[in-house]
Point group: C2
Chain length 435, copies 2
């Protein structure tokens, strides 16, 4: 198995101004090729620290991928450091220099002379094009055939780095790693805990490397397969996973609950509206993050005050008084009111206690009620006991609201949520999908 | 200046399942004490990799702070590795063991024997209590007086690690760093770019280390002061900063625009409502993230479809037709409609084109109009040209809506936004506050 080291460079990382998301992104993609990351080395913009990081990385691993330090200013030292460490001269690349000049012309700005620094590369470097910025990256091979090292240098800005990695670096690494014989699939789940998934997956026969990634309130499951017959084996794993976990898998690969729900609504020509109390607009916000959502999202009423529930959603004040604002009956009435007032095919109502205050013995913090109203069937309601702080309760409730739409459109059973089921022994992971 | 190295441990980090937010959090807090982070070393749960990380960290820096690898399972190797590296035996701590047993009783779960592993520490370790989990941390001093090393080991779960760092470790480090002579202030700004801030700050006399942190759509400015008279000098810097940047500073320290706006609304007894089109509920979502927001947030209407703008907000269809849904007139009518329908003192309307589709030559993607309606003055409206992808336009627009409320309550001038003003030369940073 090929081993890699990642170097993240920049004072903004070692001073905590910026969270390094590059290393994780790269590590995730390398894992997909069956490449193992032995270490991430993060250093600020100082020559001696960069030298330390590069010497150690080259000592530890066959592949080194570095981000940052390619800018035009004096504190951008990556290329100089690498060239010095490898004992290679810097070579000026005329084509890259011309592209930089052109970009400045395009932006109608004078080009500072030091920007041409970005057109100098260690001898032997192969350019990795940067479609979105002035600094291209590069890759190099060094060392003898028995002791080969592969270096990749990319800019630190994530939106420039990511396409460069995906479009140019990964295909090249895939070849290096013999990726014709490596493949993977990632299943996105909601409504089952990491340990619950672990148990189910453990029973699946066949050789694959399974891993879980909890990203509250979801858990994704990935299987990496190496060796012969990769495609066929991935297909067989997929069949098993769907047979055992079907209703919990909302999508595969790089997707999200809101995108899946949006695509389902669009495909079926169904419009939706939301009546939100405790989620305060989060359900609507998430669905409207999906480009093109105006095709199926009519709108929503965020009804915090009871008077708003009455005036805009027509929830009877007698019902609010008798059942309380956090009740299945009110959630149902909110859904029906939203469907009526906003003229949608489908509507979901959410009302609950996000905390930290407002809980009672009967309705503790985390109590959230849902209602779904549709033309073709009676309104469905349900009360769940959720957990976590205010933001988690909101997030989990918004996820349930979206999952209800998904399950309704796919005629799946209503989501079941048991107790959290994670004691202190499991506190190591921040995982918290409902079990 | 004291130098520190940070170690982040866990396979979840080197496989990209989890983004490491611990290292940045720690680095930020250390900077506040004037302690410089020379490197972050991230490794998976393998003995040889942990050994590498610890030996290098102890070689590089006087203070080493590590997170992760303190769990009860076989792949939690930090304590064993540290003890072996330092040549110290493991010592069982009876009080810690009892606390672990008690936690399991509390959760009503059987305790696996291997959890007692968390009660063993290298000889000489001083316990750092963990109020929120089973694994305490510890700190140690090693080496001779001339070559002293300070080690801190904390669990990897952020919500456990953070209070342990803040409550126990930082006060101890402050003493070590002579923090009586170090102090800092952090100003949160919105509406001015990082380079704009940089220019203004550069003119401020006095000795302090200034740094900027762009967290779209905001930029925070921090000044660290060392030496004599720390308090007085911080106060003087504060006076200068407010004199030059007053209206752009919405708060200081660990706060957010929504919390500041919420506190202002609560203090003045003013209620608010929102009518959101392109932000799709995000403004309401953000304000309802603030605990206690039900005291001043009445609710909101997310009016995506024009029919919803008409039916729930009373926007005249003739106006929609004449001016278009994205217009100052409609934004104003939305704000007035929300104020009327939701019965609030104050209301803000937002309508725009978040993209990627829907733009025209006259109203390109990023065109967003705002309106603010209040009892005591005529409705104010304004059109801005925003930038970025769909999520950025939404986020920036939601920030402007909240800032409008803040500026209204503080009788500040209307927010001015110029062109983005960042060409390729500045693309290195993801910074993007409006200039």
């Amino acid at each position: 198995m090929i081993q890699a080291a990642i170097i993240s460079t920049g004072d903004e990382l070692t001073t905590g101004r910026t969270t390094d998301t590059n290393a994780g992104f790269i590590a995730d993609r390398l894992l997909g090729l069956g490449i193992d990351v032995v270490a991430v080395l993060t250093v600020g913009d100082r020559p001696e620290r960069l030298r330390w990081a590069w010497s150690e990385a080259l000592r530890l691993a066959e592949v080194v991928i570095a981000t940052g330090g390619l800018g035009p200013t004096a504190d951008d030292l990556t290329t100089e450091t690498v060239a010095a460490l490898l004992g290679r001269p810097l070579v000026h690349d005329a084509a890259v220099a011309e592209r930089i000049r052109e970009l400045f012309r395009l932006f109608n700005r004078p080009m500072p002379e030091n920007n041409l620094k970005q057109a100098a590369f260690p001898e032997g470097a192969v350019i990795v094009p940067n479609p979105l910025g002035t600094a291209p990256g590069y890759r190099m091979e060094v060392g003898s055939a028995e002791d080969r090292r592969h270096l990749v240098v990319l800019p630190g800005v994530p939106r420039e780095m990511k396409p460069m990695l995906t479009e140019t670096v990964l295909p090249w690494l895939a070849e290096l790693a013999g990726a014709a014989r490596v493949g993977h699939r990632t299943f996105q789940t909601f409504g089952i805990s990491e340990s619950g998934l672990d148990e189910v997956i453990a029973g699946i026969p066949g050789e694959g490397r399974w891993s879980f990634r909890a990203n509250f309130p979801e858990v994704s499951v990935r299987v990496v397969v190496r060796g012969d017959d990769v495609e066929r084996r991935l297909e067989a794993f997929g069949r098993e996973v769907y047979a055992r976990l079907g209703q919990y898998i909302y999508g595969e690969g790089d997707t999200s609950m809101e995108r899946v729900v949006g695509a389902l609504l669009a495909a079926r020509g169904v419009t939706v509206a939301f009546a939100e109390s405790c989620t305060g607009g989060l359900v609507s916000h998430r669905l409207t993050n999906v480009p093109g959502s105006s095709a199926y999202y009519r709108g929503g009423v965020n009804a915090y005050a009871n008077a708003v529930k009455e005036a805009l959603l027509g929830v009877p004040s007698a019902l609010l008084e008798a059942e309380g604002a956090v009740s299945e009956a009110v959630a149902g009435a909110m859904a029906e009111g939203a469907r009526r007032a906003l003229g949608s095919d489908l509507a979901v109502g959410v009302t609950g206690i996000a905390g930290p205050d407002g809980g009672t013995a009967e309705k503790p913090v985390g109590t959230v009620c849902f209602g779904l109203a549709a033309a073709d069937r009676p309104t469905v309601t349900r009360r769940y006991q959720l957990w976590g702080n205010r933001e988690w309760v909101k997030l989990l409730a918004s996820q349930i609201a979206l999952d209800w739409v998904r399950r309704h459109l796919l005629a799946l059973p209503l989501l079941e949520i048991g107790p959290r089921g994670a004691g202190p022994a499991e506190a190591k992971r921040e995982s918290v999908a409902p079990s």
